[in-house]
C-alpha cells in the first residue's frame, strides 16, 4: 500500500462517514436530553425517500433537502409525542418508527412512480454535485499534504462539509451555551431542571427536533449525494451503526467525529481489500465489517474505558404529584 492508496481510502472514508456522523450527532442531541432514539434508521430512510422524490419531481436538490428534513422532523415529532407527552416507552416508539418508515417509503414510492418502490434516477441539478475547495488544483503538487487536501478533503458535496462543521457547532451549543447546559441537565436530572423553573418538556422537544433535522440531512445525503435515487431500505443499518458510534464516543461530539471516521474507515478498507494479509494471519472482509459492533460491545462491557449514558435516559419525566 503506497501513500496514494491511503489518500484514496481516506477520501472514501469521508464519504462513508458523513451519513453516520449526521445520525450520530442527531442521536447525541436526543439522548443527551434523556430521550433514547433507536428510530434514527427510520428517520434516515423517510428523509432519503422524500428528498429523492421531491428532487425528482421538482428537479431541485435544495427543495429535496427541505422535504427530507421536513419528513424527518415529522417522524421526530411522532417520537416526541409518544415518548415525551404521552410518556410511552422510548424504545418501542423508536422501533415503531423504523417499521413505519420501511413500509411507508416503498408504498408511497410505488404509488407515485410505479417503479417497484424506487424513485427515478436523479441527474443534473436534482443531485448534490461535488465542490472543489479553494486552491485544490494549485496545492495538488505540494508533497504529502497536497494530495491529501486535493484528493481526500476536496471534491465532496456540500453536505459533507456541513457535517464536519456540525461537530464544533454541536460542541459549542452543548457545552458553551445556556441552552446546552440545560439540555444536558435535563438528561441527567430532569427534576432539578424542573425545580429551577425550566420546562423539561420544551427542552426535550427541542432536542428531538434538532435530532430530526440532522437525520434529515443524513438521509438526504444518502439519496441525493452518495446515490442518485431512493431504493428500498437504502439506509441499510446506518442508523444502528450510528447508535453504536454514539456509545463508542461516550456521548461526546468530538469523540463522535472520531468514532464515525473510524467506522467509515473500516467500511472503506473492507470495500477496497477482499481480505487483509498481515503476513501471519489473513483477516477476512467480514471481520472488518463486524468490527464496529465488536468494538462497541467491548466498550459497553467496560474493558476499555467506561461508557456512561445520560442518567435520566430512557425514562419519561413525571412531575411529582
Amino acid at each position: 500500500m503506497n501513500y496514494l492508496d491511503l489518500v484514496q481510502i481516506l477520501d472514501s472514508t469521508i464519504r462513508l462517514s458523513t451519513p453516520l456522523l449526521f445520525a450520530c450527532l442527531a442521536g447525541l442531541f436526543s439522548e443527551r436530553s434523556g430521550v433514547f432514539d433507536i428510530g434514527l434508521e427510520g428517520k434516515i430512510l423517510i428523509s432519503a425517500f422524500f428528498s429523492a422524490a421531491v428532487a425528482a419531481l421538482t428537479g431541485s436538490v435544495w427543495l429535496g433537502l427541505g422535504a427530507g428534513i421536513a419528513a424527518s422532523v415529522v417522524f421526530a415529532l411522532i417520537h416526541g409525542l409518544a415518548s415525551i407527552t404521552f410518556r410511552g416507552d422510548q424504545l418501542i416508539s423508536g422501533v415503531a418508527i423504523n417499521f413505519l418508515a420501511a413500509g411507508m417509503t416503498v408504498l408511497i414510492a410505488q404509488d407515485w412512480f410505479a417503479q417497484g418502490g424506487r424513485t427515478p434516477q436523479l441527474s443534473g441539478s436534482a443531485r448534490f454535485s461535488s465542490i472543489d475547495l479553494p486552491f485544490a488544483d494549485a496545492l495538488r503538487d505540494v508533497p504529502l499534504l497536497g494530495p491529501l487536501y486535493a484528493e481526500a478533503l476536496s471534491g465532496h458535496t456540500i453536505l459533507v462539509y456541513a457535517g464536519l462543521l456540525a461537530v464544533p457547532l454541536t460542541w459549542y451549543v452543548l457545552f458553551r451555551t445556556r441552552f446546552g447546559l440545560r439540555l444536558r441537565a435535563v438528561g441527567e436530572n430532569p427534576g432539578a431542571v424542573d425545580t429551577a423553573g425550566v420546562s423539561v418538556v420544551r427542552l426535550r422537544y427541542a432536542a428531538v427536533l434538532i435530532c430530526g433535522v440532522l437525520c434529515g440531512m443524513a438521509g438526504s445525503y444518502l439519496a441525493t449525494g452518495l446515490a442518485a435515487s431512493f431504493t428500498q431500505n437504502m439506509s441499510a443499518g446506518r442508523g444502528f451503526i450510528a447508535l453504536a458510534a454514539l456509545i463508542f464516543a461516550k456521548w461526546r461530539p468530538w469523540y463522535a467525529l472520531g468514532a464515525c471516521l473510524l467506522f467509515g474507515l473500516l467500511q472503506a478498507i473492507s470495500n477496497r481489500y477482499s481480505s487483509i494479509d498481515l503476513v501471519v494471519i489473513e483477516i477476512p472482509n467480514a471481520f472488518v465489517l463486524a468490527l464496529p459492533y465488536i468494538l462497541t460491545v467491548v466498550i459497553l462491557a467496560g474493558f476499555v474505558g467506561k461508557a456512561t449514558p445520560p442518567r435520566a435516559g430512557g425514562e419519561p419525566y413525571v412531575k411529582e404529584r
Binding site: D5, A227, A268
Partner: protein, 333 residues
Amino acid sequence: MTTMKTLLGAAATTALCAGAALAEPGLIIDLGGKFDKSFNESAYTGAQTWVEETDGDYMETELASEAQREQTMRRMADRGANPVVVLGFANGSTLEQVAPDYPDTNFVIVDMVVEQPNVQSVVFAEHEGSYLVGLMAAMASETGTVSFVGGMDVPLIRKFACGYAQGAKAANPDVTVIANMTGTTPSAWNDPVKGGELTKSQISQGSDVVYAAAGGTGVGVLQAAEDEGILAIGVDSNQNYLHPGTMLTSMVKRVDNAVYDAFKNAEAGELQTGIVVKDLSNDGVGVAMDEFNAELVSDEMMAAVEEAKAAIVAGELEVHDYTSDDSCPVLDF
C-alpha cells in the same frame, strides 16, 4: 374429522377444476423488485410480451421477504396457476419441498436445477456471455485494468466474474481484473450506495471498465461509472439506455425468453420438464448492441466478439464454468 376431510376434499376438487378451466400461468417476482432494471424486470418483460401477443391473463406476485417464498409459491399453486414460474437460485430448496405436493401443477425455475418430475429448470450459460463482455472490456480499457462488482457472494455470481476474467485475459493477457462482491446476504442485491462506493474504489485502483452483476445494486455501479467518466457493462436486461455514452454494452440473459417460452408452451400444453440450457447457441445469453452504445463499440471489438462466439458455439473454445468445480483458474476470490 370426517367433515374436515370432506371440506378439504371439496376444496381440492374446486381448486383442480379451477386449474383445469383457467390454467393461467403465474409469475413470482423475486426479491430485488419488479423494476430492478435487471433480472426480475427481464422476466416481467417476457410475461408482458406474452400478454401482448396472446391477450391472455397471468397471475403475478412480488416477494417482500425471504420468509414469504413457500407461502407465496403454495398460494399461487392453490389458486390454480399453471405453470408457476419462480425466479432465482434462492427458490431452489423451497421448490424442492413444494413441487411434490402439487403433482398436477408444473413449475418453472430460472437459474437453478430442481430435480422433480413436474419442474422445468432453466439454466443460463452466464460464463459464455460474460466471456464476450470481458473481451470487449479489455479491448476498450486504456489503463489495462478492468473490474467487476458482484451482488451476493454466491457461486452463480462467481460464474459471471470468472467468465468475465477469462474473456478479459484472452483479449489482453496482461490485464488486471479487480473483483468485489457487495455482501453475503440477500440485501446485497439492493444496496446501490455500496455498489457505487465499490466502483469508486475500483476506479481509484485504475479500473476504467466496470461490469456489474448485482441486481438492483448495479444501478449504483452504473451511476458511479457515469459520474466518474468510465465505461460500464450492464447485466441481465439490456441496460444500455440507462446511461448512453458510458454504457459499453450489457450482458443480456434472456430471462424474458425463458418466461415467454414457459407461458407459450404451457398454453399449447407442451411444457417440457427437466433441464433447459440457454446458451450462446440458442441466444439465451448474448451481448447487447443498440443505438446507445454504437459509438463505443469498434469494428475490431465486434469482430472479436463474433469470432469468439462462433468458436464457443462450435465447441472449439471452452469457457470454464465456476460452478462446475467451484474454482476459477484466472481469478482469486
